[in-house]
Symmetry: C2
């Protein structure tokens, strides 16, 4: 048993979808969440910069005496997790491997789509993991940069979202995929629009949910589960204005976020 908190990292606020799943699947765990809101988005930045920003974030989380770090951000999982695991001793759980595994389990025709940011798709991280588990898979990766802005604007169910999705997803339709990884924390908000475009025979994989499951399994295996079965404490830290995070974050978690503290992340 280990009652230290779990650290959850995201480039911003989208990682609260992962936190929400962890809260449901592991209600007794304490959590320290850090969102790098002053430097979001990671998805368009170079690998070098993503690694630098992520390492600073890890160093901050380590000051909170955590037992493991869940990387909610797909871009950081894709570009920086391997490097981080070489440098820091704490266990990391990213979203890529759990997401890839779920896609492979759900496909019947071996045609799998992956959508995400430029950074995530161009890194090939999901594609490599999937291929390793299913060498025969046909994998189509497409970056959909506008999806994040659409969700942040609250336009996920508009005509704009629909024709944007039609443009991005055309190739997936042509390849007749039957399983699609939503490889960015914002994308699950677009699931109805995506299903409208692709039809309901395509299974949508939400790596946030899969990462929470993987976290539970890892904690169990390594004997790191909290002795509490309920009543986890949650502490939030961000690198930009806490008020905006509180407001928008409350909507995602569907409960009020108490205190959020600002961290001067560049100086860590």
């Amino acid at each position: 048993m280990d009652n230290r908190p779990i650290g959850v990292f995201d480039s911003g606020i989208g990682g609260l979808t992962v936190l929400k799943e962890i809260m449901e699947q592991l209600p007794g765990e304490d959590i320290v969440y850090f969102g790098d809101t002053a430097r979001i988005p990671y998805g368009t930045r170079s690998k070098e910069t993503v690694i630098k920003y992520f390492f600073q974030s890890v160093r901050f989380l380590l000051t909170k005496e955590i037992k493991a770090i869940v990387i909610a951000c797909n871009t950081a999982s894709a570009l920086a997790m391997e490097e981080a695991q070489k440098v820091f001793e704490i266990p990391f759980i990213g979203v890529i491997e759990p997401g890839a595994k779920a896609a492979v389990s759900s496909t019947k025709n071996s045609a799998i789509g992956v959508i995400g940011t430029e950074g995530t798709i161009n890194s090939g991280a999901y594609q490599r993991k999937i291929r390793r588990m299913m060498p025969s898979a046909e994998i189509i990766g497409i970056s959909c940069p506008l999806f994040v802005s659409l969700v942040e604007e609250g336009w996920e169910s508009t005509d704009v979202a629909y024709i944007t999705a039609q443009r991005y997803l055309l190739e997936l339709k042509e390849h007749n995929i039957d399983s699609l990884v939503l490889g960015c924390t914002h994308y699950p908000a677009l699931r109805y629009t995506i299903t409208k475009v692709l039809g309901d025979k395509v299974t949508l994989v939400n790596p946030a949910y899969e990462a929470a499951k993987a976290t539970k399994m890892m904690l169990k295996e390594q004997n790191l589960l909290s002795s509490k079965l309920d009543g986890g404490n949650y502490n939030f830290y961000v690198s930009d204005d806490p008020e905006k995070f509180k407001r928008v974050g409350g909507n995602i978690l569907r409960k009020e976020i108490g205190s959020v503290q600002k961290v001067n992340i560049e100086n860590i």
Copy 2:
């Protein structure tokens, strides 16, 4: 006469539209351009963070022995220029005042629209400047966050851009504006789409062009013009991957960008 270079600041690559205007209007001036590509966009960040990032950028430009700083970024002009002018002795030229002046000159019915990022519009900087010059003006400010992503995706002439513009600009249409400030460096790329929505009776004001004119006038008045009439030298610095900047920037300037150097901006 003063042959020191002019510093041009932008949060990223969009400021090259301002640089292009300066190159045309002041072909003998040397320029040092800094784009804070590792922390773009500024438009959604808090005032405090924009000031911090902008001050670091100013300190970097000051190491290059410049004679003035042109702020191409609307958000930084709106949120940080006044503060900067209190702290640093060098003259600053932002895009807000020149843009506001041009809008006031061009309107006939005193109904003026301003579009920009959340930071620019919520700061009220354009609105205040315009009201000071024309107290009777009816001013409608609207933030259009998706416009930046549309331009970066190269989708400025698509159906997605058109219906997005229809949504954002509806209120401007209802108020019958006849002059519109394109208050973000990316927006001029959308001018045909915007005109398609608003009709060709609305004058579109491009603050990039106006800021270059204002720079020329200021240098003349303060006796800071270069003695060269042609053949300015251009040096480029960015905070993230130089290669991406070179590639995309070359398209904006319509000439090849020679060397671009990376700056570790957080440590300045």
